[in-house]
């Protein structure tokens, strides 16, 4: 068990965003969290990444309570995240953005007189991640000048550059054209293998992606876990398909077969 939530409740005033959510993420899993708008997906991600403290219940990462400890502390423990709305450093280059993550991972960001340009390890490490994400030829481009799809990739890539054990991806393919979504996922899954990620959690709306890549799907509805099962089981569950997926799922012709091998 890498990450475990037990009976997590999150209240915003009188509004119940999460109402007793329990879930666990095991070694090697790719888990998708799905649900209609307002189901509590974003709140759940924020609770799982220590950004929000649960009102009740607990979240444990590698056995340690991480409720509300904050992202900075969580990255030290080995968790990273990307964002639904792409988060980049507009005036920094691709390489600099990745270097920042590498510096954070290696420590020593407080070395105020050290030369960044002269640090071959930071550079090599950042370039390696850039290569994994097909961004190496754009290493010196300012991130604000990147096309939208590359911005999204960079957001995810910088999280990977932390070489975390587990990563939470908040809609990794939102804002990416339908034609490119599978390419993005392939890059992501490939990078996960190379970096040796122990688990991936994603929140995703695109059901082709969800059903094509997940080992397990957790369906949220009104702050509760409606279903927690394999893609095949979810597909067979008419109620969940109706309430959460909103339609009968027909796999994309190019999508890998459900339960195809991945990290």
């Amino acid at each position: 068990m890498i990450l475990e939530a037990r009976g997590v409740r999150k209240l915003y005033g009188a509004y119940v965003a999460l109402d007793g959510v329990s879930l666990s993420i095991r070694e090697g899993e790719f888990v998708s969290i799905i649900g209609p708008n307002g189901a509590g997906k974003s709140t759940l991600i924020n609770v799982l990444t220590g950004m929000l403290a649960p009102s009740a219940g607990s979240v444990r990462f590698k056995g340690k309570d991480i409720g509300g400890i904050g992202m900075v502390a969580l990255t030290r423990l080995g968790m990273a995240r990307s964002f639904q709305l792409v988060q980049i450093f507009p005036e920094l280059t691709v390489l600099e953005s990745l270097q920042a993550a590498v510096i954070s991972r290696l420590g020593g960001g407080a070395r105020i007189f050290a030369s960044l340009a002269g640090d071959g390890r930071i550079r090599a490490d950042a370039l390696e991640v850039a290569t994994l994400f097909n961004l190496a030829d754009k290493a010196h481009v300012l991130t604000r000048e990147l096309p939208q799809g590359d911005k999204k990739l960079l957001d995810v890539a910088s999280a990977f550059a932390l070489r975390p054990e587990i990563i939470l991806l908040d809609e990794p393919t939102s804002g990416v054209s339908t034609a490119d979504k599978h390419a993005v996922m392939e890059i992501l899954v490939g990078a996960a293998k190379r970096i040796g990620l122990r688990a991936i959690i994603q929140v995703e709306h695109d059901m082709d992606i969800v059903f094509g890549y997940s080992d397990r799907i957790i369906a949220l509805h009104q702050g509760k876990v409606l279903a927690d099962a394999t893609p095949a089981q979810i597909e067979a569950d008419a109620q969940v398909m109706d309430m959460v997926v909103g339609r009968r799922h027909t796999p994309h012709p190019n999508a890998p077969h459900p339960n195809a091998p991945h990290p």
Partner: protein
């Protein structure tokens, strides 16, 4: 290469100025160099970390008063001791002040620094015994490199040894800051300026790095403040007054905060423009106010922005 050429020419000019320029203009270079040191530090906070301090004159005041107290009360005349003492005094004050201020951003950070500046100003004004109140204190001529330069008249001292001493400090401060902004630390500061949420998600401890930047900028301001006190020969509470903080922010904007050398250019133009305008027109703030409005509206990259490709300045930054 163009930068290298310009830097070489500027360095040669700075070395030659005392030899060729009238003494009056050489003495005007002294506050330029002192402010240059202050602004290099201020811009680490402003341009690189994205925090605008409206109370930085506090640290100029600490540096200047350290010099005055040491020379006129304790008989310590060596500038080589005064500058580290000023840096240390600023660090001691900046540690708690910074720890409180860096929890806030934007206008709240600015207002809190302003508030601490006003507290210090009032302290200087009211603690007459220690600070001389509104009359201030004398900053006696410091010794440089172990020499009192006794045979030199005041002007000869300022345009000779003191000029070159100030220049050496400015060059050293510039080289150090050049290293700082190109270090892993400098990159972390830029990530905070660019996107605080993303920086935190990458494990950059935003308050801690802001505090480091605050400390460095306070030390720079105090060293500049100590340099500034000698040509005036007197320090008084207006050094720490909020309009002085406003002036140095203006200098940074004038030169351009997105450029490493922008603040130095800003200090230079400010000093000489102020001198020129004041000699022909008593209401120099009227002119400077108009210049400031013009820069913010039409040239947000400052004077450097007119030469180099400016970083686009957003009206509001998240």
């Amino acid at each position: 290469m163009r930068t290298a050429t310009v830097l070489t020419l500027v360095s040669l000019a700075l070395l030659a100025i005392p030899l060729v320029a009238p003494a009056y203009y050489v003495t005007l270079m002294l506050p330029f160099m002192a402010y240059g040191v202050v602004l290099l530090g201020l811009n680490l906070l402003f341009g690189y970390t994205g925090l605008v301090s409206f109370g930085h004159a506090l640290f100029i005041g600490i540096g200047a008063y350290t010099g005055a107290v040491l020379t006129s009360r304790f008989g310590v005349r060596q500038m080589e001791l005064i500058l580290p003492a000023a840096a240390l005094a600023a660090a001691v004050v900046a540690a708690p002040v910074g720890a409180l201020c860096v929890r806030y951003v934007k206008i709240y950070f600015g207002m809190l620094t302003l508030a601490f500046g006003m507290v210090f100003y009032t302290f200087l004004l009211k603690f007459y015994k220690l600070t001389g109140g509104d009359e201030g204190m004398r900053m006696l001529r410091p010794s440089l490199l172990g020499s009192e330069w006794a045979g030199f008249s005041k002007t000869a001292y300022l345009v000779g040894p003191y000029y070159y001493f100030s220049l050496a400090v400015l060059v050293l401060a510039t080289l150090l800051m050049w290293r700082i902004v190109r270090s892993p630390f400098g990159l972390c500061l830029k990530t905070i300026r660019e996107n605080q949420v993303k920086a935190e998600s990458l494990g950059v401890s935003v308050p801690l790095y802001r505090w480091y930047a605050f400390m460095v900028s306070a030390v720079y301001a105090a060293v500049g403040g100590a340099l500034l006190a000698t040509p005036t020969g007197n320090v008084d509470p207006t050094l720490a007054y909020w309009t002085h903080s406003g002036n140095i922010v203006f200098m940074v904007l004038l030169g351009g905060f997105s450029s490493f050398f922008g603040p130095l250019l800003g200090a230079f133009v400010f000093i000489f423009l102020q001198d020129t305008v004041m000699s022909v027109f008593p209401y120099w703030r009227l002119i400077f106010g108009a210049v400031l409005a013009f820069i913010v509206i039409f040239a947000p990259g400052g004077l450097m922005g007119l030469f180099a490709r400016p970083r686009p300045v957003e009206v509001s930054r998240g």
